[in-house]
Symmetry: C2
Subunit: 408 residues, 2 copies
C-alpha cells in the first residue's frame, strides 16, 4: 500500500515545476515501496491515491534527502590536541616531528580494529542522518596499505548500513605517501595501481577512484597512472584538485571524464571549461576553507559562467574539516563563497551527479528513490540562513518514514 | 541528601587546581541542594560523602554551565528572505527600501504577542541549553517604545524559566532609532532616559543597561546620557562598541565601569588599557563577524597584553548572527580570532564577569551554583575543535541533574 503525505511544501530541486527550488506549495507526495510514485499539488492528487489515509505533514518542507559527496569519515583517533598546539603557536613542522598531522591519523587508523572504525564512523554518520542526509560518499586513504585500505572500505559499508544511509565508496590509496615509502612516491603508486586497486576492485569494495593531486600530494603524472588503472577496471574517477595551487588538476580530472573535481579553489578558466565539457562537477568544501584559514575562494563566477554543476560537501575528516554538519556547510558556502541558497541547495542534485547516483538520488521525482528530508522551516533559504541549527524533523529512507522530530 | 558524581574529569575553569583548564582527572563532585559542595580527586572524597551511592559519570567531562552573555534572542519574525536577497545581489539600500533590515524585526516584534515571543525564544533557548548553557543574557531593543521593550523583557524572563536557564536582562532601548523618531535621535534618547529606562527599572525588569555606540547607532554623547541615567538608577552598563569603526566606545564603556564592551573589533590600545583598569570584559562575537563577512578582527594580542578578560558569545539575533550554537562560537573564536581553546573556554568565567554573575556562575567551585555541563569528550580542546557538533550529554541546573544523553 503506498504512503501519501500531504500538508507539505516540497522543494523538489528539479526543473519540472518551473519554480525556484522546484517548489510545490500545499503539496502531496506518494511513496510506493522504495520509490517516489507521485508529487504535486495536493488538489491534484490522482484519484487512485485518494482512498489512502494520508500522513499529515503539518506544513513541513520536503526536500530530496541530502547528499554528502565528499567525506573521509572512517578513521582512527582524533586530532583536537594538534588543533590546540597549533593555536598555542607550535609550528606544523614541529607537530609533524612529534608524529602529528595526517600520519598520526594513518597510524591510528592502522591500529584501530574494524569494529572500532565502524563504531566511530557510525556515530558520525548518525549526525549527518539527523540533518536529513540519506547518501554519503566515504573515502579510504588513511590506510595506505592493502590491509588497512580494505578495512576502511569494509567499515564504510558496515557503518552506512548501521546508520541507515546509502553509501558510495571511493578508493583513495593515492592520498599521501605512507612513511614506509618516504622518498619513493613512484614505488608507492606502483603498489596503488598494481596491488591495492585491482585487489579491492575485485572484492567489489570500490565505486570510484580518487587521488590527491597537489604539490604536497601526487604529481599529475602519478595521478594519471592511477586514473588509467581505474579506467582499466571500468571505475569512474574523481580528484582532490587545485586546493592549494593551480596544478591543472581540474583539467586533468575532466580529461578522464571525472565525476567531480573537489576543492578547486585555484581552478582557472581552462579548468572550468574542461569540467563543463566533460560533465565534471565542482565539489566545494567550505569546512576545510574555514578550518585551514584559507583565503583563496573557488571561482564561483567561472563555474556559473561555464555552467559547471556545484555541489557542497563536509569533507568530514579529523585534520582539516572536523565536521559532521552538512547544513553548516550550506551556510558557509553562502557566507564564504557567496552562493545563493538556491545554488547551495541545488548542490544536492549536483552531489548526486558527483557520485554517479542520478536519477535515483538528488531530486524529488517520480521514479527516484524515496529518500526525503523533512524540515520545520518557512522557506528553503532558511536551511542556509541559520548557523549551526538543525530544523530536520523527519526523514524517509528508501520508503521507510521516521518522523522523530515531527511536531505533534 | 547531597548528590555525588564520580568517574568524571572536571575542567573547573578556576585557578585553584594549578592545571590547564583547572583540570581534575578522575574527579568527584558533590552537589548539595543548589550548590557545589566539593570538587576534587575521587580518591580524596571526604568521608562524610563516602556513604552516598554515587552517580557514575562514565568518564564524562564536567565544566561550569556555559554562559551566553550577549544575545538578542527575543524577537518576532525571521530574516532568511533578506539573507537570500542579499546573495542574489539586492543592495542593502534596496532591502531597507522594501522594509527589510532591523526595522523589519522591530515591526515584527511590535506585532508579535507576548506568547509568540515567549514560544519562539524558548525554542532558541532550548537549543542553547542542549549544549550545556545554564545562564543567558537577553537584551531588549527591538521594541523601541515602552510597551514593546517591556514585552520583550517580560518574554525574556518567561522564556528563560520555560527553558530552564538563568537569565540576566539588559535594556537596550538605545539600539537604533525607531521610524517614528527619524532624524530626531536626541528626542528618542530623551524617551529612553526619561521614559523607558526609569519605568522598566522600577518594574524590576532590568539587570543592566546596554547601548549601540557607532556611526550608524548613537553618538558617544547620546550614549553617555544613557549611561548617566543608568548610574542614577544604580544599574550597571555594557556597550556595543567599536564594531565597525574606532569610536572610542571601549574607553567610554570603561569610564562608566561597564561590565563589558562587546564586539570591539576596532578597539585600540587606549581602549584595551581602559578596559583592563576598570574590569570591563571584552565580549567577542564571531558569529556576527562571520555572517557579516567582516575582516577586522578584535585585537586579541592587545587584550592578552593588558589582561582584559575575554568572553565569547553568540550575539544570537535575526539580522547579523542567526545562531543558537555557543559551541560553534568557540570554534569560530579559535579559528577566526586565534584564541587558544583554553582562552575560549576561560570565556565562560569571563562571561560570568560580564554579567556581574561571579562567583555564583562561571567556575566549578565550592559555593558556586551547581550549574554544570557534562560532555562526552576526551579533552576540553575538543569543544572548540569540532565544527557544529554537540557532545553535551547532561546538565546540572541549580542542583537538578538531567542526563538525557548519558551513555548507558
Amino acid at each position: 500500500m503506498p504512503i501519501v503525505i500531504d500538508h507539505i511544501n516540497a522543494a523538489a530541486m528539479s526543473g519540472s515545476h518551473g519554480t525556484p527550488y522546484g517548489t510545490v506549495t500545499d503539496a502531496a507526495i506518494v511513496i510506493d515501496d522504495e520509490h517516489i510514485a507521485w508529487l504535486g499539488p495536493r488538489a491534484e492528487l490522482p484519484s487512485s491515491y485518494q482512498n489512502i489515509a494520508p500522513v499529515d505533514g503539518q506544513g513541513a518542507w520536503a526536500l530530496p534527502g541530502l547528499i554528502d559527496c565528499h567525506t573521509h569519515i572512517v578513521y582512527g583517533g582524533m586530532r583536537a590536541g594538534e588543533f590546540e598546539q597549533r593555536l598555542q603557536g607550535v609550528s606544523y613542522e614541529e607537530i609533524a616531528r612529534r608524529g602529528g598531522g595526517i600520519r598520526s591519523t594513518v597510524a591510528m587508523t592502522r591500529a584501530a580494529s574494524l569494529e572500532e572504525l565502524v563504531d566511530s564512523a557510525t556515530a558520525r554518520l548518525v549526525e549527518l542522518r539527523r540533518e536529513g542526509v540519506t547518501l554519503v560518499e566515504i573515502k579510504s586513504g588513511y590506510g595506505l596499505n592493502l590491509e588497512t585500505e580494505r578495512k576502511q572500505l569494509i567499515a564504510a559499508g558496515q557503518a552506512a548500513e548501521r546508520a541507515g544511509v546509502d553509501v558510495r565508496r571511493s578508493f583513495l590509496g593515492a592520498h599521501t605517501i605512507p612513511p614506509e615509502y618516504d622518498g619513493n612516491a613512484d614505488d608507492y603508486i606502483d603498489l596503488v595501481c598494481d596491488g591495492m586497486l585491482p585487489a579491492l576492485a575485485r572484492e567489489g569494495l570500490i565505486d570510484a577512484v580518487d587521488a590527491f593531486c597537489e604539490t604536497i600530494g601526487f604529481t599529475p603524472a602519478q595521478t594519471r597512472r592511477v586514473f588509467e588503472t581505474a579506467r582499466a577496471h571500468d571505475l569512474p574517477v574523481k580528484l582532490h584538485a587545485d586546493q592549494l595551487t593551480n596544478g591543472g588538476g581540474a583539467a586533468l580530472a575532466a580529461e578522464f571524464d571525472a565525476l567531480s573535481a573537489d576543492h578547486v579553489e585555484f581552478c582557472d578558466e581552462a579548468g572550468a571549461r574542461a569540467m563543463a565539457a566533460h560533465g565534471t562537477a565542482a565539489v566545494l568544501l567550505p569546512g576545510a576553507y574555514y578550518f585551514l584559514g584559507e583565503t583563496q575562494k573557488p571561482p564561483i563566477d567561472l563555474f556559473r559562467r561555464h555552467k559547471v554543476s556545484m555541489a557542497v560537501s563536509t569533507d568530514s575528516n579529523p585534520g582539516s574539516s572536523p565536521t559532521t554538519s552538512l547544513l553548516l556547510m550550506l551556510s558557509m558556502a553562502c557566507t564564504f563563497f557567496r552562493l545563493t541558497p538556491e545554488e547551495a541547495l541545488t548542490g544536492i542534485t549536483a552531489a548526486a551527479q558527483a557520485l554517479g547516483a542520478t536519477p535515483d538520488h538528488g531530486t524529488l521525482t517520480p521514479g527516484a528513490l524515496a529518500n526525503i528530508a523533512f524540515f520545520n522551516i518557512t522557506q528553503p533559504a532558511e536551511l542556509a540562513y541559520h548557523i549551526g541549527h538543525n530544523p530536520c524533523v523527519g526523514r524517509c529512507y528508501r520508503g521507510r518514514l521516521s518522523l522523530d522530530g515531527w511536531p505533534s
